[in-house]
């Protein structure tokens, strides 16, 4: 097994552990944050704050290297475009997140735990991704003919 695969496995494991420790794997805590007019639970703010403070501090050092030790290049999106796709996609994601209380990471962790709710949510999420993929391919075909 290559070192790159081991790093991905370890990073995924650390990410999953972080999600469980943070409590973000319980949709009621997510909705407790999003429900600003109800019994507000600020936990998510500390999770996002802790995560972003860490990445904002460490990414700057990491990205000073000419390339990653185990890969040819940093795979980063250079796009700075703020268009209807970004805005519409983020808006739809937020509606789904507020509806169910799951975003992709916690839903996948719940799947491993055997939580019954995500047996509905995760397959639907994969279908949503497939629908987007189908639309993109259709648009590609239309533009190439």
């Amino acid at each position: 097994m290559s070192r790159q695969i081991l790093v991905a496995l370890a990073a995924g494991a650390l990410f999953g552990l972080g999600l469980a420790v943070s409590g973000m794997t319980d949709p009621l805590r997510i909705l407790g944050f999003l429900d600003v007019t109800g019994a507000f639970d600020p936990s998510l703010l500390f999770v996002l704050g802790g995560a972003v403070a860490t990445t904002a501090l460490l990414f700057r050092f990491v990205l000073r290297a000419p390339r990653p030790p185990l890969a040819d290049q940093f795979h980063l999106s250079d796009s700075q475009r703020i268009d209807t796709r970004l805005l519409g996609g983020a808006a739809l994601f937020g509606i789904g997140w507020g509806l169910a209380g799951y975003c992709p990471g916690p839903a996948l962790v719940g799947l491993g735990y055997g939580a019954h709710e995500v047996l509905w949510f995760v397959p639907a999420m994969l279908v949503g991704m497939a629908v987007h993929r189908g639309r993109e391919r259709q648009a590609q075909r239309a533009s190439s003919t």
């Binding site: 990410f15 973000m24 794997t25 319980d26 429900d35 937020g94 735990y113 949503g128």
Partner: protein, 141 residues
């Protein structure tokens, strides 16, 4: 007694360290929706690390929930139709918008990306409005 914000903050730092390790060593952004979509629709030579990341995420997260049962999903009786609708919107929306809470939130904000900041602002607002409508106007807990 430990203040309530300690474990959320510690969990957040672990997530940030995971994202840093993946970018530092492999040059990849830890965006869960993008990694999932990349595993679902494989491109040659691009899938193995995605499967490894997802395996680690699911296995370690699930194991940790057995030690921390209070963080496990505890809701019962929530309508499956809302879970399905939510899943469809999360899947489609994250691909259209190019990221979710991890890609735009944890990583994009860490890179000080304006594009990600806008995305986070938009999905927070629509999520808060949706939760308000579901809980307070429709009366679904």
């Amino acid at each position: 007694m430990t203040p309530y914000w300690v474990t959320p903050l510690a969990g957040g730092v672990l997530i940030g360290l995971a994202a840093t390790a993946l970018l530092w060593l492999n040059g990849r952004i830890a965006g869960i929706s993008g990694i999932t979509a990349g595993a679902l629709f494989p491109k040659r030579g691009e899938t193995a690390w995605r499967y490894a990341f997802l395996l680690g995420l699911i296995a370690a997260g699930a194991l940790a929930l057995h030690w921390l049962p209070s963080a496990a999903p505890s809701r019962t009786g929530f309508a499956p139709v809302l879970l399905i609708a939510g899943g469809l919107l999360v899947g489609f929306g994250t691909r259209l918008g190019g990221g979710c809470t991890s890609g735009h939130g944890v990583c994009g904000l860490g890179r000080l990306s304006l594009r990600s900041l806008v995305a986070v602002g938009v999905f927070m607002v629509t999520a808060i409005l949706t939760t308000f409508i579901v809980r307070h106007l429709a009366g679904i807990a």
